[in-house]
Amino acid sequence: MSIHNVIQVEGLTKKFGDFTAVNAISFKVEKGEIFGFLGANGAGKTTAMKMLIGISIPSSGKATVAGFDVFTHAESIKKSIGYMSQKFALYDDLTVKENITFFGGIYGLSRKRIRQKSAVLIEELGLEKVANKLVGALPLGWKQKLSFSVSMIHDPKIVFLDEPTGGVDPITRRQFWEMIYKAANQGITVFVTTHYMDEAEYCDRVSIMVNGKIEALDTPKKLKEQFKVANMNDVFLKLARG
């Protein structure tokens, strides 16, 4: 495989009994790319993502993530990626600092490294005043920004973001995307799902899943041209409504 493709997927399939949740999807994601992974509820996004982050074994097909095979090297994948979602982010009853230390420890960082990372991260996010407060007491937007930073504490090659901005206020949502741009600019690949179609426009390329298959994959600009519509929302509606 090319060294530039940090995710390479070919004919990846997942079946549950008679039901094919993910049906032979193929795509590649390059280093430093922001890749939007869209689809209606139930289209198979979560199942596909679970295979890519090494927590679900595919029924058939091929996939490598950060150079590791999803069938044989799932544990190596887990160490080379970051993951955050709206549902599982940080521990509410630990403080900001404790959460950083905890996740740093999980990823095997030295104490010294955790101290350094912790200081940088708290400063970058402007969390100095709340560093010793419980995460549960922070506004959702702050939590999500912290959670994103923590998911990259071990300098992963790829970070997977599962609906990271759901319910977040519009200003914080944009600050969150500025963090995504920054990460991508530093060479981290960002794989992101969202229900906000304006966010789909922020991605370098976007794939849209319908009933387990990838029905469209291109830059937002080309998708809009292909479907002859003005915005990504209309692309989505055209595809997913059939």
Partner: protein, 300 residues
């Protein structure tokens, strides 16, 4: 008036969830409470549906006081909470039957009200509610909230986490219900849904920022607003943030929305500045503000 809210406040320990909230909703109106998580939307819904006492202020629903006439309110409103609250172990049909019985009615009596929605989930009527997909759960919850023919419908974030297709279908259902003279109070964090309401209240940190029709709110935006794009989005945002005349800059889809501090904006000057920052393919065009622009300007 269908809903009257006067100076309602509510605090939890040291968090001011609602601060002096007032608004009125007319009979048959589709009124949106638009704001992010933590704005106080659910607290407001719980007070109006008589599930929570306010610390201060008064509110009436269909003319009944939320404290002294709570029983009448409970009989005459439908409430769909943000969390799925039906019985997961009962089937689709059993849930509907249950809610009809609780309110002393039958499915048959008000079937015409839910028919459009129910036919979409009827093929699964013997499936347990817990086994339904997100979109189907949402439709069942709406049927259960409607089965006693309520005068007022309270929908707390019915579309959160729902994909754009199902969201669009849900709003089409609301428009049809509105024609049956049901007052609808709906909350959402999606600013694009605001345009579908008759009137909206923008809410953040327990305070109402503005109440008006979506068209009027957009017109109140105080500054000319420009779409700016260039070859590198990240560099563009950073460069604009460093520009001496910037008032605000927010990514908006493929563009950045830019507003200028000065009364007279100079597009040529901005273009030269961006070029000096090694950006290319620069486009600067006047555009119109959206609800989200207004919200961010007010919340700043």
């Amino acid at each position: 008036m269908s809903i009257c809210v006067a100076n309602i406040s509510k605090s939890y320990k040291n968090v001011k969830a609602l601060q002096d909230i007032s608004f009125n909703v007319k009979v048959g109106e589709l009124f949106g409470i638009i704001g992010p998580d933590g704005a106080g939307k659910t607290t407001l819904f719980r007070i109006l549906t008589t599930l929570l006492f306010a610390d201060n202020g008064r509110a009436t629903v269909s003319g009944w006081d939320v404290v002294s006439d709570y029983k009448n309110i409970r009989k005459s409103v439908g409430y769909m909470p943000g969390r799925f609250s039906l019985y997961q172990d009962l089937t689709v049909e059993e849930n509907l039957q249950f809610f009809a019985t609780i309110f002393g009615t039958t499915i048959e009596e008000n079937y015409d009200l839910i028919k459009d929605i129910y036919v979409q989930i009827e093929p699964f009527k013997d499936r347990r509610a817990g086994k339904l997909s997100g979109g189907m759960k949402q439709k069942l919850a709406l049927c259960c909230a409607l089965i006693h023919k309520p005068k007022v419908l309270f929908l707390d974030e019915p579309t959160t986490g729902v994909d754009p297709v199902s969201r669009k279908e849900f709003w089409e259902m609301l428009k049809r219900l509105q024609q049956k003279n049901i007052t609808i109070l709906v909350s959402t964090p999606y600013m694009d849904e605001a345009a579908l309401c008759d009137r909206i209240a923008l809410i953040q940190d327990g305070k109402i920022l503005e109440i008006d029709t979506p068209e009027a709110i957009v017109k109140h935006y105080p500054k000319p607003i420009y779409n700016v794009s260039a070859n590198n989005m990240y560099k563009l945002i950073n460069s604009l943030n460093a520009y001496q005349y910037i008032h605000s800059v927010y990514p908006f889809g493929e563009f950045v929305h830019y507003t200028d501090k000065r009364a007279e904006f100079n597009a040529v000057e901005l273009k030269l500045y961006l070029e000096s920052k090694n950006l290319s393919n620069i486009r600067i065009e006047k555009t119109v503000a959206t609800i989200e622009d207004t919200f961010m300007e007010l919340a700043k």
